[in-house]
Subunit: 306 residues, 2 copies
């Protein structure tokens, strides 16, 4: 029986590329593994997979009775629905430690770096397994995506060195140009339904018993949202009600101006404003310098709820 | 401000030697660190520290506002009481994933091996830091203790290879003889109050909302308990009542016969018996082949409570 290697719900490029890269490594060291996914792939991820010649991993939602290697999260809300009936054999991640628990020993490769694929590169090095050119390519793209081409405060020297090493393996001379191509794909929002945009990179967090959903759209220029912002606002309000959430935040991130406009629907606006030390206007606020949900948006709110 | 490196409550040799070894490594790579402990050291640990010329780490119970590196556990019940007010920067462990969570990214070096010190050796290798002879000595002893000189089912080839490498660094020719000396120290229970014996290696677990305490005493011959078994039984009954526990189990492990007598006080004897598929007599049962609390005692009970 194989081990299923799976990233979080509403998979991003790190979850998909990481599952492929880790499953390959595990197969090379004699542990039969299959990369899977918990949802549709984003246009950015489709661009990456297409560029390096990969199919999307198999869509698989149920893992009861199976062995699972978790990629890019350690939160129950982001894991398969029936994870409690599966055996978690490992976790590779770069986020805060969440509420997943196990009843048997496991391996955890968790590091405070910018991307799970940077940690997976460490695993390749540990096992002394060569990284194929096309896998190096998707790993590199995942790191450029998560670190916003090194601009995010989550980016560490380990991520930069990792991208440089992977670029050499993959034979990519100008990886920053590749990163910009990727973010151009990500910036093409025209004609996409609001719900699809909001859910493109959306994570639920359990904050002291309150369900808080936080979405993020990273683009090259916020003007792409001018015509659809009202639709986005209406949609996150609907999403809050549907999921019985305490709050839904949507970050519209301008990777060139290096900041985010946050759209807010919440049961407690004062709590959100105090978390970010800001004053919103019409439930919107520009947060200068805020690029990272993980490092700049989740922890202050977590503290506000504590 | 230093990072405090601390093992679990009622520290065993892995917690103490691991804290010393990891603090040394962290200091070598430029991260100021101080090894601390959450309780008295056991006679076995005192023997190890004395043999290799170490003082016991500083006793420190409060960590509010401090940065902490957790060794040998990931359970709230085993962590400092005020851990929620500290920042956990890392966890090195070899147990099931417990209920510690964080609000910021951290590093986790968790592996399904026999001892945290085996994982710490991997960290030394990763950072390419030389292990001093005396630190190699205490790390080796911790691994021999946790793996019961390789007899425990928790022992992996990684642990054995690690001990062999550490023995070479420490210049120890007959590490098995050293292990037996250590277990002889551990077997000297005469004259020690029952409570001290019970608490020598005692861990509380949160099993689906129920507090379950499990102690273990590993000796070379169970006959050392003949005269004090009634005292031990009375003491775990008291311990159950004092802590409002659902159950307290005490494992009297014979490392030569390779099995354990389990003393049981519980609110639900049928549940405990079904977990181990056994029938107790006078709240006692011999479990043949059972040497490991972590691998053979906790998971079946966890499942019974699930």
């Amino acid at each position: 029986m194989p081990v299923y290697v799976v990233g979080h719900k509403i998979p991003d490029s790190d979850s998909i590329c990481g599952a492929i890269a880790l499953a390959h490594l595990k197969n090379q060291i004699g542990e039969a593994s299959v990369a899977t996914r918990l949802g549709d792939i984003s246009p950015e991820t489709a661009f990456i997979l297409d560029k390096f010649g990969f199919e999307a991993p198999e869509l698989k939602l149920s893992y009861a009775g199976e062995e699972v290697y978790i990629v890019d999260h350690s939160e129950l809300t982001q894991a398969p629905d029936d994870i409690a009936e599966a055996t978690i054999v490992g976790i590779v991640d770069h986020h805060k430690l969440g509420d997943l628990t196990t009843s048997t020993p496991l391996e955890c490769w968790i590091r405070p770096v910018g991307c799970s694929n940077t940690v997976i590169k460490m695993m390749y090095d540990f096992y002394n397994v060569e990284i194929p050119k096309n896998i190096a390519g998707i790993m590199l793209c995942a790191i450029l995506s998560d670190t916003v081409i090194f601009k995010s405060p989550t980016c560490t020297t380990a991520d930069i060195k990792c991208v440089e090493a992977l670029a050499e393996i993959a034979g990519i001379e100008d990886f920053k140009a590749l990163g910009m191509d990727m973010f151009k794909v990500k910036s093409a929002v025209e004609g996409t339904p609001a719900r699809d945009l909001v859910m493109r990179d959306f994570k639920d967090f359990n904050m002291n018993g309150n369900l808080v959903g936080i979405g993020q759209l990273e683009v090259i220029d916020l003007s792409v949202f001018d015509d659809i912002k009202a639709d986005l606002e209406a949609d996150i309000a609907a999403l809050k009600a549907e999921g019985n959430r305490h709050s839904v935040l949507l970050l519209l991130t301008d990777i060139m101006k290096e900041g985010s406009e946050m759209l807010i629907v919440t049961d407690d606006l004062a709590k959100v404003e105090s978390a970010y030390n800001c004053k919103s206007v019409d439930n919107k606020v520009w947060l200068d310098g805020v690029l990272s949900r993980k490092k700049q948006v989740v922890p202050p709110l977590q503290d506000a709820f504590a």
